[in-house]
Symmetry: D2
């Protein structure tokens, strides 16, 4: 199970890295929603690998085919199915992975779950490639959010040892959130970009990988979105965000930092401003009681270094029943954080749109 | 919405702090599951306030009534309804809260969502009191997990500036996990308990509150539990944990720390040990690809300081349409972290049991 | 499982006939929905047994307690929990039912499902008494539908060999639908009522029971409600209606009669009337493609004779492992059809309201 | 919404009659489930039109492409996506349908729901063609049921004025259920087949269509499958069956006939037979209290005559805002009942398998 999520804008994903294709069904789009293929392509290009030396050289063209649900350029209201055919598959590369488990990867857990019947080639269903359909869904959701004056943006808050400055918790201008989309390494302090690139290239040279943190902001949400308890906005965002491969942490507002604070510091003081209720700090990341309070949504996700590296690693050979050293030749992705940015944004946009319907 | 969660062990909660009562329905319990009322009472007593100076003095007796689903001391298999009548209600205390919004609390977000129709007294449905039914559900789930050799334990990893040592990521003995239940302030290094108590009492004297971090471990899970993507174990735990009021952060394994690591450090090396596959580190917190890998589940949650404090606070008066200073006389909870420990444990046990069915 | 249904107005029921109490949680009510206790009581009285010789003499007072979700007479927007305490329990009556299975009843199927752990007294969770919470939910839904100009009414179309005339498929005046609520035996042709009563009393004298058919109409629905396929209005009504104990058949519009028709007869011709699109016949019962077409919703449900009868019946004794004859002394319900009418109406109102949100 | 249904074997469908393609995702298949393409093709051929004069001449090749979830001929355990490309599309045929609503069809209800954005060509998403993916899902489910000794079979109980004999409610041999699959018109009394064919051909000559009834039996189910109330087997079968286009009625066991019976007649007497509990009649269709009792599942569905006919029909022109007469030239399906048989069977198999997991 696990292929479907969403209450009002229900997303179902499918596919394996080395099968015929991957894709998704998006059910619940308002009839008439513009399906802006040019914008979707731009968003998907942000995620696609192979663009520069900082990512894997696997060419994923991510050409998508609209199988259903779109009529004359607009959402018909019926289930929208997108198919992304696989190409550039080097299945032979992966035969070694049938029994030798990559440390840190889903290989072993997946093999136990599926009792050996799953497609192990290139990670199969666990491949990061499965995030491409999420980006499609997010691009459509962004179109709908934009109509409501809601903007979603993200930057790389950290790669390895290099950090960026953080978003102003009280809000960033929409133009600044949008401008981040244009940057190869989306950062607020552009002087950090070359340092991050150096961090990535160093990992690459060492046949290693490096992790990072992505910070996300959404502005323009009205107060009152979300529910107490099991449909809290934090719960549903967390559910979707932890579905993205490699996410290992999530914190809203001041997050773990709030644990060291006093109530008198953490409670965001409230006041009227131009007839609206605002807070003068935003330690709660725009959400109290699981519900938006009208301030910007703010959170950070921790992304682990991609586990597929070329360095020799200690692992097990399940067929032989013995310990072994695994060495995978060839290209790999030294840092997935830049490519994770549009995915995290997309998931955020999808859930926000879902919860506003 | 938001009252119901769970796939196979579905929990629905209800109630307001100052209504007739609160409670829950638990649907999907295997027929014959022992309903150990003595154990449940012990668990609920761990959460109940009023036991010592470190918590609010509100006496919540948390007497529970089994309305349905239990027959001759065992789960009948039909929906189990538990009612916890409210008592010790001081509704008059709260009249001030009708229009003056407590900063950091759900008051404003809730009022916007429910358009002013919700019961504002004592936080109403947003009250921390609603976590009592979760503890009931968790106690039943623990009974079932214990039968499978699975133990769940938690300690206070931080209160304000005081930290505890952390769990050994490779696992703690079940006895140690269980022993934590007996401690007023469950910590691994008992020398930290008085320091934490001092931190709490200092906050109390300042009419303030203080936050913290809870660390959770579950041992004994077989590999293969969880699904990729939207039913990943991390997704479902995150969904339920962020439903607990005051939780603002969650990290699995090394969590945010993994963002600064290399793949060669973060990838947990694998080897055979007594015929089983184990890892020699546990940066992934027992979960890869959203699925258990047989190592202990390990995560931490950040708890914000309770927003209800007695110090004067800057806020708004919605009826007057003006800024104001709110001062709430009387008792409050200087630190909910100790009482959050059994709640976080309970939610963990519930979700683990749900996903093993 | 099976305690919860509904997408936007989610109902969860609980309880056993001879436990402490039964009840329900209704989640998703618009904040401010009037909770008209007087109207709810009238609706519940229609279902309650013991009012006359045509029903069982068990006195079910059906007093309800609003545990949560109602504040100052209106829905707070939070989960509304209603508790209906059990009374007039004669548990001793039922000891015979522990091992001797009533033919036609859920006894055997339930015992197999719950492996003998379920409460067998009085049918336990399978008791028709569990329909009382449905009537509560339906009464609240009717309040909301009425605000939108939607009326729901039902009559007894058949009891045993006696039939009523049928609703005019093109619609009945709201007043007529409402007037049916006042009749002991709600029929369109009042001359049939005494004949139906005679049919019931004859069954009673023979220590037997008799079944029937209920016909339901809902007027005032706009076109466009429902979805294709799995959320078709027919699917969701059918799901909920077949959850009502004793329902064994359901047909929309001309129903089974349509099987013998030609397309040219069954296709309801369309035309404009006062600017609205109407049909000049209503063989489709107001639903095409799973979606309302603006004509009245019309369907019939078949209700089987209540299986609890006093006549000796051939059955099995599971403890003895042998065939036996079961004879249950005392009162039973010779015909549940009149009491099923408000239940069927209530379920209809709940689902219609759910699908219009 | 409405594209997804199922608890443990979750099916999501997509597609429009004249888009790129249609298909489905099946999530939750046990890893290793054989995907028997030859068997699936046979099943899909039973549904496909264009085989003889009794159906529409539209050639739907129903070639399917396994996009994901199958590895080395077996289910991988991950979401199985099947794509069925559209071909033989004559979109020009349908331009007349943009504004002129076919009586009895989903045209008008769908246009209201989707506010005119849906693909109206050939019925779009409402096309009977969307049942092809259901047959695929059912074929896989049948494979799993067969492993458990469960057989599902169906026959045409009625077409227009011609009826077949009915199944023996106490059970049919598996061989007989399977043999029905081989018949062009699956009937128990083969002498009825030519009469039914004549009924269909007469409708065809009159440019008209004719409805019918399908009767379904499933044998081999153990007692205890299903849940009380909202997950009753009847509820879930009804939900899925009423999702099939053209289904207007459903009755279990004796169905509407039970309404005229006494309890003493309708209660199926129980006895031991070869150590098992059986009933000596089966008026309840194998289900009591929503749960299987070990007897064969038995039900009938009413299928309305296909609304697409060539005869002139009275309807509305929404663009002109006036009444009009619609005349659709060319081929249509004089009777969908024979092709509905494998669809109804498939849905039954899917839901039974889902509820046994």
């Amino acid at each position: 199970m696990g292929a479907t999520f969403g209450r009002n804008l229900r997303l179902t994903i499918f596919g394996e890295s080395h099968g015929k294709g991957i894709g998704m069904i998006l059910d619940g789009l308002p009839p008439g929603t513009p399906i802006d293929e040019a914008f979707i392509k731009t968003e998907m290009a942000r995620r696609a690998p192979g663009k520069n030396k900082m990512s894997t050289q696997r060419q994923e063209t991510d050409v998508f085919i609209l199988e259903s649900g779109v009529f004359e350029g607009k959402a018909a209201g019926t289930p929208l199915c997108v198919l992304i055919p696989n190409s550039d598959q080097h299945s032979k590369d992966y035969s070694i992975l049938k029994d030798k488990m990559r440390p840190g990867h889903a290989d072993y857990a997946g093999k136990m779950k599926y009792r050996g019947f799953n497609d192990y080639r290139g990670g199969g269903h666990f491949s990061g490639r499965l995030t491409a359909p999420l980006v499609f869904a997010g691009a459509v959701a962004k179109t709908l959010l934009r109509q409501k004056g809601i903007a979603v943006g993200a930057h790389i808050a950290r790669i390895g040892r290099v950090t960026d400055v953080m978003f102003d918790p009280l809000g960033e201008p929409e133009a600044r959130l949008n401008a981040l989309r244009e940057q190869t390494l989306p950062v607020l302090d552009e002087s950090r970009a070359p340092l991050m690139e150096a961090e990535i290239m160093a990992a690459r040279e060492q046949q290693d990988s490096v992790g990072g943190v992505v910070e996300v902001m959404a502005t323009g949400l009205p107060p009152g979105i979300g529910d107490p308890f099991f449909d809290s906005l934090e719960s549903r965002l967390a559910h979707a965000l932890f579905s993205v491969p490699a996410v290992k942490g999530l914190e809203f507002g001041t997050g773990f930092g709030i644990a060291a604070m006093k109530g008198s510091e953490a409670n965001d003081p409230m006041r009227f401003e131009a007839g609206c209720v605002v807070t003068t700090s935003n330690h709660n990341g725009g959400i109290t009681g699981g519900i938006t309070n009208g301030m910007p949504i703010l959170f950070r996700v921790a992304i682990k270094p991609t586990p597929s590296i070329s360095r020799p690693q200690q692992t097990v050979d399940l067929a032989a029943g013995s310990d072994t050293v695994l060495e995978i030749k060839g290209r790999h992705d030294p840092c997935i954080v830049p490519r994770a940015v549009p995915v995290i944004e997309a998931v955020t946009a999808w859930i926000l749109q879902d919860m506003m319907m």
